[in-house]
Structure formats: C-alpha cells, structure tokens
Point group: none
Chain length 212, copies 4
DNA sequence: AAGTAATCGAGACGGTACGTCCAGTCTTACA
DNA sequence: TGTAAGACTGGACGTACCGTCTCGATTACTT
C-alpha cells in the first residue's frame, strides 16, 4: 500500500512534495483516468522532479494506487432509528456522488486495473469497503434490532440497493433520476423483508409504496 | 469511425489481414485488457505490418473498438411463455458468462474508455444494448401480456435484475453463487410486480404479493 | 565497428540522419572529449530523434567509436626518393596536425577508453595504424633500398620519431617548435643508421647535422 | 583549489574521513579510470556521507585531482657518476612502472581532462614534473660536468628518451621489451651528444658503447 | 496474358514516456 | 562545528510504444 510515509516531523519537504505529487496525480486522473497519468507529466505539472517521485513511490502503479486510496470519500453513518430512514439518506448521498464528476469517472479505470493487478485489486477492495461499509452497518444494525428477516444476507441487501445505481451510472448510462432511486430503495427494503413497513414509509416520502 | 470494414469482395488480402489483426487484438485484450494491447505487439504477433494496420484503422482506439464490437455475445431470446421462466434462463446465462473469463475482464476497460472517448462510448452503448436487449424484450413482452404492473419502467426492472449481478462481479468481487442469483431473480419479479406469483412470496416475505 | 551501414540507395534518410548524427557527435567530441558527448545532446543538436540514433548505434559507446573511426586523417605517402626527405615531409605534417585543434584534443579520451574497453581499443588501433602507416612504409621502403641498417626494427625507428612529438604534445605540453622537430628527425635518422648521410641533408635543410 | 588538505590537528575526524575518501577514490580510479569514479560510489564504499565529501572538495574533479596527486611515484635520483649509468637506472625504472598496472591506466584520463580543465592541467603538470625531474636533473648535471654537448636542450633529450617509451605504452601498445628500452637509451645518449663519442657520427652501429 | 492499381512488408522517423543512475545543493538531527 | 542521513532538482541513459512516412515487392482485378 505504499506506506503513507510516516509523517514524522523529519522533513517538511517530504510532506510538501508528496502532497503536490498526489494532488497533480489526482488531477490528471480526473482528466484522463489512470491511463492519463504519466509520471513525467505529474513531475512537470507539480514541479517535483521525477527522481523525487520515484524516491517515494517505487513505480507509476504505486503512485496511482496511493492516489486512489486517498480518494476515499468518508461517508458518515446516519442514525435515524429506522432502516428505511438510514438507507434513504445513504442512497440519496450515493446517487448524488454518482451524478457528480470526480471519482465516478475514475473507478472503472481502477476496476479494470484490479482485474489484473493484485495490488490494485487490494486497493480497490479497501476503497470499496470504505464506500459500502455504512450501508452494511445500517443493514446489520437493523437486523440486530430485529427489523428485518434474519435469513437475509446483508451483503445481498446492499447489492440489491447499490447494484442498480452502479449499473445505471456505468453500464446503461441512463440517468439516475429520483424516481429510479426511490424505486430501488423500495425494492431493497422488500428484499430486506423489512418487518415494520409502516415505519419505513417515513424515510421515503416521495416513495409511492408498493400498494397502499 | 472504424467503418465496419465492408468485406465486399474487394480484395481477399484485405479480409485476411483484417481478420488476423482482429484475432490478435482480441487475444491480447483477453491477456491484458485494453491497456495490454499495443499495435506493435499486434503486428508482431499476427505478422501483419504496422503500416497495414494503420491503413485499416485510423488509430489504436479504433482497432480496440472494432475488436470489442466483435465481442458481442449473441444471446437468444427465450420464450417459455412466462416472465419468470424467461428471466430465469436469461439471468442464469448472464451469471454463467460473468463467472467465465473473457469479456468480463475487458468490459471495465471499455467502460473506462467510454468515460472519456465519445466514440468508444457509442461502441459501448451498442455492446451493452446487444447484451441487455433480450432482458428488455422479455420484460416488455410480459407487460404487453399484462403479466406485470403497467406503471413499472422496464429498464428499471432490468436494472434491478442485472445491477446486483454486475455489482458483485466487478465492484464487491463477491462470488456469484446460485442462492444470490435466485434471490436477485425473485426480487426482480417482485419489482415487476409479476402477476399470479403465488410461489414467489417466499422471496418477499412481508410483501403481500404484487398489486391488489 | 558498427557497420558503416551500407549506403545502398535504399533510403536516403538513413544516410542523412547518420551523417548529421556523426557530425554532431564529432563536434561535441571536440568540445568536451568523449565524456562530453551525450546522446540527448547529439539528438537535440542535429535534430535527429534519440530513438533514431539508437536504431543505428546500439549504444553511446558504439556511436563514439564510429565517430572516432571516421576521424582517420588520411595522410598521403610521400616519395622523394630518400628516407630523409620522406620523413621530413611526414614529420612536419604530423607536427602541424599536433599543433592544430581537432583530434589531438580527443585522442587522450580514446586512449583512456581503450585502456578498458576492448572495442574502443580496436578502434584506436585502427586509427593509430592509419596514422602511422605512412611512416612505417617510408622506413620499410628505405630498408628495402638498403638505405638503412637492416638490423633496426622499423617500428622502433618510428617510435623514436613520433614518440618525442607525442610526448611534447600531451605529456610535457611543451611547444612543438621547429628546432625540436628538426632535432627529432635528425635523431631518428641516426637510429635508422641511415647509410648515405650526405643525401639525408637534402631533407632537412635547416638541420644542422649532428656534429660535423 | 583542492587545498592540500592540511592535516592540522583541527579535527581528527577530518583527517580520517579525508583519508578514507581518497583511498576509495584511488581504488575506484584504478578499477575504471577517472570516468569510473562517482562520488556516490565513493561515499557508499568508504562510509563517508556525500555531503562530507563535498565539504572537503568543491567538486568531483577536485577530488579526482587530489587523488591523482597522491599518485606521485617518488623516484630517487640516482648518482652513478656518469650520465649513461644514471639514465640507465632511470629508464629501466620507468619502463618497469609502465609495464605495471596502476597509474599507467589512469594517466590518459588525466591528460584528457587536462586538455579542457585548467585546474587539472596544472595538476597534471605537477605530476608530470615530479615524474620527469629526475631525468632532467641527471641530464643537467651531466651538462654541468661537461659530459654532453652544451647546445642540446635538456628537455629535448628527455623527450627523446621517454617519448618512445610513452608512445609504445599508450599509442602503439607494442610491448616494452628490453631491446627496445636499450635502443632508446642508446639513441638518447647520442642525442645528448655525449662527449668523447668519436663513434657517434656513424649514427648507430658504430657507437662503441656509452662512453669512455 | 499482360498491365495497372491496390495492397502489402519492412522499417526509418520524430515524439513521449518509462524507470534508473549520477552530480551537486540543501535541510535536519546528532556528535 | 563537523558529520551522517538523505531529500531535492536536473540531466542522461537505453527501451517501448505511437502514428507517420517512404520504399519496393506482391498480389488481384482489368483490358
């Protein structure tokens, strides 16, 4: 994982160079995906010598990897008291992120690389976990409360929740409109077999609810 | 772009070179993703001069794109008479493909490229359509038959069906086991609000069945 | 020896690039010795891409070597009929060359490299031979004519002739004035044990003759 | 320049570091000539930090230069009472040194550098002087004794003596066999016009031996 | 069947990038 | 203060690839 290079006060220069390099790398990544990042260009853009870059990261891949890891979008775990409310917040947040530019443009690059490079696969796993953990936590918390069926695999619930969103963002490239997001949420609650349906409605608002 | 390489009887040599080039490209693509394909290597491997390759494809991207298009995995539209049966066949088939090596390893490359290159985005859209059309057809046919709720967007149904599968293959990298696939199928039928699904209730639990 | 790259009419570009590269290399060599030649700088200076340079010469050394070989200063063998006259012309010519800028500034570089690199040693040997052969020829011819003692090693005669000149140019860095050159010539003729001394004077003119 | 490294008691550490550095430098010089010495490698090899090296020598050249100076092969001035005897000892000693590994392998490096760097030229001059002074002393002593012709330039005599030896060692790379050395000595005595050399007019052959 | 034009291979060429090594300067922390 | 440790800029090395180019040798279609 490239070792965030212990920031012991040792040398401020180290910290400054590394920050500059990572920033430039991230910028280039946004512009052209992983493939659009070249060490030479990073060096040129941030004024840090190529040699210095290679002193801190053993290879271009390591640099990319590090830049990817920093991408972790910390999402606070909500606690509305009910599964529906929690998930609603989380899903809306995710949809917002997916609609924005930024990491959604890079992720396919990472996934592609992860397909072949074990190191990047590990980085991707970590990144993914940091992204999905709040969802998983919400679901597991609900299960502990007895709000959902005990025989449901929480990861499957999460899959049914975020899978369709991801699908629309990267595969079908259809818009992530509110109606779709609501419907997805609805379905996922069904999957969870949410016990107390009445409470769940509070979360959605717009949600039409399956029936009445 | 890429101009379908009209194989009009023009010259047999043309056809032969192009076939050889595409084959080598495809091979390299499987080995190392889009990034693993270099024109030099393609030339070396299939014995066709680099010049010739550039004579037929304006750029590396165009070649990749063309090779990707050939990847289209033709899926026959099943017709069991019922939505559940049709989808079952389709989903199982898709899951099988996702579990196999081959294009699942390449698709992220394409999606990544599509994120920035409009041409590749178009190619991806086409590829995607050819993959998903059978699903959409099945759903729409069911709707015409009145088997599912009319207020459901067919594309949303498809998303809830394949989204979770895709998610597991590329994002969470969890196994696509049979139980998961079954559950996904169940849920999707719920989403569709499939009529007369007495058996399906097992999936939803609380869900009292579609409509009414 | 890098193969002067047969100038078959194939491609004029090859000839042109190579000529430009060698010229720039030679120029840089004059300015800074072998050590002053960098492939990057050659490329920059003559407008030939570094890649192209490496296409024609496997390494920097090979390029240097080739440039050195081209340095051969063809000296015509004189024929005044007598050893003294021949040597006089040759020695004066050599002294002139030693006094001029140009290869005298580079030769130490080559000798140094030859001390460790067998390839360059070979190149140096060839260069040296082309430089000294006229001297050797003159001496051997004289021997065939019976003008000099038969028990003298021709190479030793040459050594006694050019050794002191070389010594002054590179080792003691004293000036190569006419008196010195004359004296050296005188001595060498002594070494040769030139038979007909009277004839030898014709060559020197200035030469005061040993004693009386 | 280079400031003779005054070993004033200042700090013992200084002396120790400098000695270690010079030793490592000399070692590297023997292995790969001047070009084979890199400050990094010196630092690595002798455990003295690069910074420290640059504190004591302003540049790589200065270090090389200093190391070269240490190379001075002190040659004792012989005194056999006669020029022939003195020169015989000196020349044999020089030939022995030339045949050995060590500085003969480095000198071309120095000469090359001296061709362009005035500082190194000065260092070379000094080194050269320390090497040739015994020869010059012997000749001048003989002249004072009246043993040789007064109209001969002593430096020319020295040139005729060591020039051929140097020539064979570095330029023609022919062996420095005893016969050659003897002949060179013979000739030089001729040049000197050693007194009472009735035979000398003959050039060679006739020469009845050194003197007397 | 010959002639003409399309097609081909071989590979030179200018560029950009890679990852390494070295020169020299500068900073920090320890004696 | 002198030293070790090592970060930093900058430049060169030799390699791989991209996309363009010129050349001469094969084809295949045409007359």
């Amino acid at each position: 994982m490239v070792e965030a290079v212990e920031p012991v006060g040792r040398d401020k220069r180290v910290a400054r160079s590394q920050a500059a390099v990572l920033a430039a790398t991230y910028e280039l990544m946004l512009e052209g995906g992983l493939a659009g990042v070249s060490v030479d260009e990073v060096s040129r853009r941030c004024g840090v010598a190529k040699t210095t870059i290679y002193r801190h990261w053993p290879s271009r891949s390591a640099l990319l990897l590090d830049a990817c890891s920093q991408m972790g979008t910390a999402v606070p775990v909500p606690d509305t008291g009910g599964l529906a409310g929690d998930l609603h917040i989380l899903v809306e947040g995710l949809a917002d992120q997916l609609r924005a530019p930024g990491w959604p443009a890079i992720l396919p690059s990472i996934i592609d690389a992860a397909e072949r490079d074990p190191d990047l696969a590990r980085a991707h796993a970590e990144l993914h976990r940091s992204l999905m953990d709040p969802f998983l936590d919400a679901v597991e918390q609900a299960r502990r409360r007895g709000d959902i069926r005990g025989d449901r695999d929480p990861t499957a619930v999460v899959a049914s929740l975020v899978g369709p969103l991801f699908y629309r963002r990267w595969f079908s490239r259809e818009p992530l409109d509110a109606a779709f997001v609501d419907q997805v949420l609805d379905v996922a609650l069904d999957v969870a077999g949410a016990a107390a349906r009445q409470g769940s409605t509070s979360g959605g608002g717009a949600r039409s609810g399956p029936v009445r």
